[in-house]
């Protein structure tokens, strides 16, 4: 048997998808194209899901059309990480801060990034969204460039701890 190793070579592939957003996600995307953040209220427990979606993953019920809730672009950092590992898919300069933001009035967290000093990030930090210039808005959450700290006292741990 040959002792030569089996060769390995890199063969990049590209996959293009057609994506049907569906009624609920389309409503969310049309809103964010206009700079509005739409959540959706669960008819069973009244909790607000952001981004809005078609049904509740916990109660298995469809969300009613009139359950849409517009949310402000500010909130609280629930938890975070400072990332120093590159990934080909992520066009951010290292190190960067990933955050889970609980928008005011929402009951689910949004994963995004924070622009700020590495030592200012903390759980409970109050933040607001910084948007791309209006002419660059598309149907994407990437219309928000990043979040930045607000000059406000930190949120009380008890007010967000159940979302970690």
């Amino acid at each position: 048997m040959s002792e030569d190793p089996i060769e390995v070579f890199l063969q990049p592939i590209q996959l293009d998808y057609d994506y049907t957003a569906g009624v609920s996600a389309s409503r969310f995307l049309r809103a964010i194209e206009q700079g509005k953040l739409l959540g959706q209220r669960c008819p069973v427990d009244g909790r607000v899901y952001f981004p809005s979606r078609g049904s509740c993953p916990q109660h298995a019920v469809p969300f009613a059309d009139d359950g849409a809730v517009e949310l402000p672009d500010r909130g609280t950092i629930v938890t975070y990480s400072i990332v120093r590992v590159p990934s080909e898919n992520i066009p951010l300069e290292l190190p960067y801060i990933t955050v889970q933001v609980l928008l005011d009035g929402a009951d689910t967290v949004l994963m995004h990034v924070l622009d700020g000093d590495l030592d200012t990030v903390r759980m409970g930090l109050r933040v607001e969204a910084v948007w791309k210039p209006k002419e660059e808005w598309t149907t994407s959450l990437a219309n928000i460039l990043y979040f930045r700290p607000l000059d406000e006292p930190d949120a009380d741990y008890d007010s967000y701890k159940e979302h970690i």
């Binding site: 590992v85 990934s87 995004h112 990034v113 994407s140 970690i164």
Partner: protein, 385 residues
């Protein structure tokens, strides 16, 4: 369960970063042949083959079970492929066991593998979904914020994760199959390793490994006739939950709490810490040892870090965890769960070599996957239930 089932053969490859002398079929066949040899069986003795591996995106080979069928002796036999993300190795063992427990087959082979040298797992897990901002870098990027949440709510000392990493890497030195063999491992070495996904350091993470693991399982009529020790399966359990819903406890998911409760009920265990002799738990980042000690109800909520601190989870502690060195020392992702199950079985068969826990009679195997949303567990014992 109808038919009592036992693990009678175990085969593993040596875990390494690049297995350049073997193709994917060659790699899994090596593990399968070793399991058959351990069981004293031939390919003809196998009634069905169950195969597991993690997401196809890792190697970019879609539905690998199609081209791997003959390499694992599946031709003209029932063959099933299992997939539940990182927990898939555990689920593969459970599906295989259920084939015998149900009375459908008398003897089955299960195999799980990953060839990370032919894959890019961080890329495959850093998904750019349409209409969103890609910011979560790999599994570490996903789990680091949850580890931070655990530290906050438990008040665990910041060096708990370092202690787990040192312990698992010391254990790996006793397991010749383990990938990472860091002879001069120390607290300082882990503490000074670069912070990758704060608060997770480089040496608190798992390596990327090539490897495969296989097991042969039999019903009582066959296994009961054997003169050597087998591992009797007392209970298996799988639970899952959605990745995201409002109020979801991402740090301590309901699914693992439900899983452990139900597993022990099936196994007739009321005091898990006393009745179980040792455990192989899926710990890809060091902090998940204390977290899953709580999830598996070995200790109370927010108290898991104390087990690490008191040395309870060390090889000579009262509840040894990851005697083999664990996922922190070898991580062929798709196989990692099955390795946990197999290592639990080796312990109760008394064949774990230098990382054997003296007199181990009952052991726990555990795997998790996805966004802490799939859990697979089992209890094996040297004695019949």
């Amino acid at each position: 369960m109808a038919e009592l089932t036992a693990v009678v053969g175990i085969g593993q490859t040596k875990y390494v970063s690049k297995r350049l002398d073997k193709s994917m079929p060659g790699l899994i066949r090596e593990a399968a042949e070793r399991a058959l040899e351990d069981a004293g069986c031939t390919w003809n003795d196998i009634d069905a083959v169950i195969m597991g591996k993690a997401p196809d995106m890792f190697e970019g080979v879609m539905m690998p079970e199609l081209f791997l069928n003959d390499a694992i002796g599946g031709a003209y036999k029932p063959m099933l492929r299992v997939h539940t993300a990182g927990s898939v190795g555990g689920s593969t063992g459970i599906v295989a066991a259920s084939m015998v427990q149900s009375g459908i087959h008398e003897r089955v082979l299960c195999v799980a593998y990953e060839k990370q040298s032919e894959s890019n797992a961080t890329w495959a897990l850093s998904i750019s979904l349409p209409f969103s901002l890609a910011s979560v870098a790999g599994a570490g990027g996903y789990f680091a914020p949850l580890v931070r949440g655990y530290i906050r709510r438990s008040g665990a000392p910041e060096d708990t994760g370092i202690r787990v990493a040192v312990k698992d890497r010391q254990n790996a030195l006793r397991n010749p199959l383990a990938h990472l063999q860091l002879k001069d491992i120390s607290f300082e070495m882990v503490a000074n390793s670069p912070m990758l996904w704060d608060p997770i350091r480089y040496l608190e993470t798992c390596p990327s490994s090539d490897g495969a693991c296989a097991m042969v399982m039999e019903n009582e009529a066959l296994a009961g006739k054997r003169s050597n020790k087998v591992a009797w399966i007392h209970a298996t359990e799988m639970k899952s939950e959605p990745t995201m819903f409002s109020g979801r406890d991402q740090v301590m998911p309901q699914a693992i709490l439900d899983n452990s409760k139900s597993l022990y009920k099936k196994a007739g265990i009321t005091k898990p810490r006393e009745e179980i002799d040792c455990a192989e738990i899926y710990v890809p980042f060091s902090w998940f040892e204390p977290m899953w000690m709580e999830g598996m109800r070995i200790t109370d909520i927010n108290q898991g870090w104390k087990m690490t601190y008191e040395g309870a989870t060390a090889l000579d502690g009262d509840f040894p965890v990851n005697m083999s060195g664990g996922v922190l020392s070898s991580n062929p992702i798709g196989a990692s769960g099955l390795i946990r199950f197999a290592e639990a079985a080796r312990q109760v068969r008394g064949i774990a070599g230098d990382h054997q826990v003296d007199g181990a009679k009952k052991a726990l195997g555990h795997a998790y996957g996805g966004g802490s949303q799939y859990f697979s567990t089992w209890i094996v014992s040297s004695d019949k239930p």
